[in-house]
Symmetry: D2
Subunit: 346 residues, 4 copies
């Protein structure tokens, strides 16, 4: 167990960065030693996020978002809450300076840099790091996360899709060619960006799909599903924007393989998650509801067999900013430091 943990957050002014700040200010082991922002350097956490005023530690001042400033802060772990394409630039110098890096962007999630270029529309700037980064899906790559120096935290949609599917694919219970996913996300998933599409009036009393049929998150989803299935997996994925601040609900339809039963499905999930604190297999008749997971690091999952169609219906719910971003990053930080996986997260 690492008792010397000084953590810096780079790019702490977005919604994920704000959640990282919140979680780290109350973390029992990690010490938040630096927060950086191009925009807010010199201001305190409390002045940038008034809701943290009065919380011990909120008097910390933002520093500039430069690798030099981060390194000088004395942090031994850097959490990057930056847009994709920007995290690229920070990881290498921080790693070279001996820091561990936990990146919340997409930059180090994709192992195949051609796939990265295809989905993100630009060449990768630090391809050499993609082979050493660990995909930070905490329940799946647990051991690799414990010893990683560069952790790429999964996207919000991917977490809600991969957690229920991977155990089924690993056990060969699903036909990997049959997977169809429909997800709904709260508006915080779009980030704190002043765009007309995300104005209150444009989102309230509205539901719409977007990014179809080739959303960027497909790159990492299919990478990890393929790894679990032991064969290339391609899926259909339709994301929707709904008027909630937080929460992702995912609905998956898939065909079982011949000998799959409710019991084998249940067993696969129990094997994967019965001893893990943050994935909750809901007892029937409960179904996932985002209001039971928002504000938490839990991902709730349930399935139903449909005797009429022979298909399996799989449902999940998570908080997109916590289990889908900042909470999972802290979970990885806990694993990396040998702390209790739930430290600061319950």
């Amino acid at each position: 167990m690492n008792t010397d943990s000084r953590v810096a957050i780079i790019g702490a002014s977005g919604y994920s960065g704000e959640e990282l700040v919140r979680l780290l200010l109350r973390h029992p082991h990690a010490k938040l030693t630096a927060v950086s922002s191009r925009q807010y350097a010199g201001q305190s956490i409390a002045s940038v996020f008034p809701k943290f005023t009065g919380i011990p530690g909120a008097e910390l001042l933002f520093i500039p978002s430069t690798t030099e400033a981060i390194i000088q802060s004395g942090a031994n772990t850097a959490l990057l809450a930056l847009p994709h394409g920007v995290a690229h630039e920070f990881a290498a110098p921080l790693l070279q300076a001996g820091l561990n890096v936990i990146d919340l962007s997409a930059d180090f999630r994709i192992k195949n840099i051609n796939t990265y270029a295809e989905f993100y529309g630009e060449a990768h700037h630090a391809p050499e790091l993609c082979s050493t980064s660990v995909y930070g899906l905490a329940e799946i790559h647990t051991d690799a996360i414990r010893t990683a120096s560069l952790i790429a935290c999964p996207g919000c949609y991917p977490t809600s899709i991969l957690l229920p599917l991977i155990p089924f694919l690993k056990e060969g219970l699903l036909d990997p060619t049959s997977i169809i996913v429909s997800s709904m996300s709260g508006v915080s998933g779009a980030g704190r960006n002043a765009k007309l599409d995300y104005l209150y009036v444009e989102c309230n009393e509205s539901v719409r799909s977007y990014g179809v049929p080739k959303h960027r998150h497909l790159a990492e989803i299919e990478q990890e599903l393929s790894l679990a299935a032991g064969q290339p997996v391609t899926i259909s994925f339709t994301p929707h924007l709904i008027p909630v601040n937080r929460g992702i609900h995912t609905t998956i339809s898939a065909l079982p393989t011949p000998n799959t039963t409710a019991a084998t499905l249940e067993a696969a999930w129990q094997k994967a998650y019965a001893h893990r604190p943050f994935v909750r297999i809901l007892p029937s008749p409960a179904l996932p509801d985002t209001k039971n997971v928002t504000g938490t690091n839990f991902c709730d999952i349930a399935f139903r067999l449909d005797p009429r169609t022979g298909r399996i219906l799989i449902l999940s719910a998570e908080d997109n900013l916590i289990k889908g971003a900042s909470g999972q990053a802290i979970q990885c930080l806990n694993l990396l430091n040998g702390w209790n996986e739930t430290a600061g997260l319950l």
Copy 2:
């Protein structure tokens, strides 16, 4: 063209009944001669629905919900906005008294009374009427509606699913065994019922599926899809409750048949809807958004071919209380009376 149209609404105190009142008070041809309610008999429309105060006609008093009172009101058409299982009792005597009946419940939608019993959990009380009723999906059964005496208006989810799918199935463009549907509905779909599940605090900042895997609407959806496909069709259907007052968004995945192309799909929709006023085929890159249809009788539809999976993604949006209920009932009323299909609906 019928110039003598006196319309009664039976059970006008729910959300669909309220919308019927709103639409009929401003209808250029129909005259609202009676509204009935067990609960509100003797009170005026304006006192039950304060928002209609000052609208000409809102001084009309509710009468009791008895067939005698309806018949005595002089109405020649009765719109039933009653729960399923109750509409049963009203239709036969009203028809015998010479009224036309437009029913918004599920009671006369299902042709096969065994299917009705299976999905609704009770025997049908007026099975003889099920063979003569016309399924009031206005764009599909147009001619039959014009000459019907008993019209069974489609459910809210079915309308959003059937309108985009039927032209494709009629033209043989989709594999009818491959259809997977995920829908999201606003809370008004649950009716004006004082239940904990539909309290503001339970629905706001919440998304959840329900009624899986065998929602009652499957009975009519599969009946009509089978009719269009010329073979029995079974589908997967997952409804979700989302925090909006109104609106349904439906997302459908299906496999094309071998020669299907974007052009043949587009052509099938154009053939079906280019000359119909209420189904809007969205030009790319637009995607359906419930905020563009709430308050209207429109259903917006769009599709995308996914070259990665070979599947077709079909999207639709409607107002569950209008195109999914009361607006479609008025559209049927217009057809039945030989009026312009859009009368009172634009």
Copy 3:
């Protein structure tokens, strides 16, 4: 009655402009001959506002926002839905070209140009027009509106405050020094502007006051209250932003003058509004609720005497974009043209 009414909307791309388009497309007498926008010139109404697709008239193309283009369109009335400070520039040339002008901005509401400069932070560019403009509070300045050439439509908050207060002040029923107003507005009141403050996530699950203690609308509110009271009136006004798309609720506290009773208050309102279609005096025990007025041109009002404090509580509700903006503009257009005041508004 003017049977030749060709109307142009200048600056039709904001929320008020969009409502003007909606109302004029269904108006029985006015013909929408031009819509202008710097941003959308050349595009159709339907492409800019997809929700209007299929409505007759929505194929009209936006023209540039220049006075020349407006004049050439053949319109005889121009509705200006422009920011304050911009409407200034358009009014004079349009008036000179013989058009009537109905302005929805603040530019011609304030008779005293020093007050304008004090509250809006810049000198008025067309001060000569301020003496001839008519403040378009339709129920109060009815006769002047009928013969005006330049009508300055009231702001959204002012309408909700002035309608209930003016009859009381005219009759000397309130102490004009005692008026304290608290209002709540939906987010559409902030306009279609891409600002962080109005993002969904920043407004949902949030309530906050703003613009205190000297909101710009005080200039016109106090001008009109002073006119009604026959003496200068200064009030306290606190606006709040609440998470609804539309609607303003106003709560006013004031002291009665010595002989004021519930009966004299009621009589003052009845005298002012009993024969006017859009102000509804709610019968006890009803209280204004924005959901009863959103989507309509109604303003609902109620009062209560508080025997404990001796004060009068006055409550009102309206749709900020309709009675508080576009609907009132159409109401003025109706008066100006000698049409039924409710034309196109019920």
Copy 4:
């Protein structure tokens, strides 16, 4: 410091009870030994509130809501989250059995039992306890709370009104006859009750006042203001229901006494709250926003002098279920046991 704290929650199935459970499950010193409910006896916390599944302690089973069961549970402190009129019955036997009682209902807030009867419409059943109960406004009656055996936690609106006003009245800075209050509350304030008025569709896109002009909370508000002012105080109070789950925003207008200045006002607040952890005096130009306090035990306050009217505008924001109910109860529990006031609340 009391190191032996076993706490029972009586009536834990409403929204306040749920929050008490959440706060006590993570409290560093208190041990939740019993939760009771008529409805849920025998079920676990996790099954009644699925969102607590996986939180240590959530396996605790509900016991029946009887004083015997509570006493047998071994608890030494009982938190009553019961409707007013019911808490009456529980307090005396629990106190006699030696437990401390913290009541969240109105039953022991009102010292004058005639006032209780006037505002609550029934005679008090345990009037002898009203003289010994301590009003649990934690920042104001701090010392009395430390030694109390029966604590009556303030209502949600009263907390938001009393915290900003009491220091001003104590210092004689306000004219106590001039106070006018307008508050807005989230829907959770209405409790988890299946009533039509609180359905999602009835509350969403709606704002309305209610309970005017004599809301029950006036009884305790005026009691405490009178105590602070040293003279009887009567105020105007208008509560409103707005579409948020949580949060109260209060807007107060009052007249200053002759020598009052911004500096004396600021000084009064600093004296009262500078060293208290949960009342945050916002630095200008910040104004209270409920989104900064929901989920926390903070109450944010700010004031503005209005040179135009000579009045003072006072604003506050809190979470109605936390600082306005359960959080304040835990704050009282902390004081009562000699723990850090913030234990379990940051």
